[in-house]
């Protein structure tokens, strides 16, 4: 009984702390002295979405490390999972689920690709859109492949191909930066036209980096899902 009281007290303390910090957060959008990112972000990178410009241009190398983490995670899980094919689900889902998935899937796929391709203009980007595509793959295979076989177009080897090609595309774009005289993963320095900020063909190499990391995350997470399912 004492442990329950202690647990409740701790939760109350943490809740009070969270409440205090949340209330004291400055919600009005004053200008912070964040340095030049906000002032010259759009001119230097051409991307109106500051998060993408930081993620893929100023800190592109960190994003490369982050992409490698996802690659390593999905490869290790793919390696650990057994090769034999067991049944996907113990109970196959009802017709209602199949119809809702059939209705939901096109919108989810279009929205996922939209988030990836418009990552440098509106909020979103490679990683968010990639996760949405992975979610589309997962709900499709849940609803329509109750048996061990998979009707979906990509089987295991092709997904690994998509993931590795996404990673290689990311590295290739980095080398383009290096090849054109700029630093590795450089964007503006490579002389790629930055275009008019806000238009689709703007922000130099950032859209391609978005696409590469989006494909990689989508394939990586679906590999994780399909290997966990085979347990």
């Amino acid at each position: 009984m004492a442990s329950r009281i202690i647990a409740a007290l701790m939760i109350a303390a943490v809740a009070a702390l969270a409440l205090l910090t949340a209330v004291s957060l400055p919600l009005d959008m004053q200008r912070r002295d964040v340095g030049s990112y906000i002032d010259r972000g759009v001119q230097q990178t051409g991307a109106t979405n500051q998060v993408s410009s930081i993620l893929f241009d100023y800190r592109g190398f960190d994003t490369l490390g982050e992409a490698t983490v996802i690659l390593a995670a999905s490869l290790i899980i793919g390696f650990v999972a057994p090769r034999r094919r067991t049944s996907m689900l113990s109970s196959s889902l009802s017709v209602i689920v199949r119809d809702t998935v059939a209705l939901l899937l096109p919108f989810l796929l279009v929205f996922g690709f939209y988030i990836i391709l418009f990552g440098h203009i509106s909020p979103g980007g490679g990683f968010t859109g990639g996760v949405m595509l992975a979610a589309a793959v997962i709900i499709y295979s849940l609803a329509y492949c109750s048996g061990s076989r998979r009707i979906f177009l990509l089987d295991e080897a092709q997904e690994k191909l998509v993931e590795n090609s996404g990673m290689l595309l990311f590295l290739g774009i980095g080398l383009v930066g290096l090849g054109a005289g700029g630093a590795f993963l450089a964007n503006a320095a490579t002389g790629v036209p930055l275009g008019r900020p806000g238009s689709l063909a703007s922000a130099g190499l950032i859209p391609f980096l978005n696409l590469a990391s989006g494909l990689k995350v989508a394939a990586g997470l679906s590999i994780v899902f399909f290997s966990l399912i085979r347990e």
Binding site: A7, A18, L25, L27, N49, S90, P123, T128, V131, L142
Partner: protein, 78 residues
């Protein structure tokens, strides 16, 4: 006004967290965690961070809940 909404959401977050911890049925805890992720995404939106909100919503409520429910399904817990 935003402060009131923020306080309300934070209180609701604490409630959902406590419920997820102390509920005896696993599936209720999983759903509570999914609600927790969605409310966190709304809080991120209030703090003007749409990218993080979108990622949190898709991963927290989408994938993590799906994986939990799949695991429960595979061990015939459902």
């Amino acid at each position: 006004m935003t402060i009131a909404i923020m306080t309300g959401l934070m209180l609701f977050l604490c409630l959902v967290a406590v419920y997820a911890v102390f509920s005896h049925v696993i599936i209720h805890a999983v759903v509570a965690m999914s609600v927790f992720s969605i409310i966190t995404a709304v809080v991120f939106l209030l703090l003007q961070a749409p990218d993080v909100a979108m990622t949190e919503a898709v991963i927290g409520a989408g994938l993590v809940t799906a994986f939990f429910i799949l695991t429960l399904n595979k061990i015939e817990e459902l």
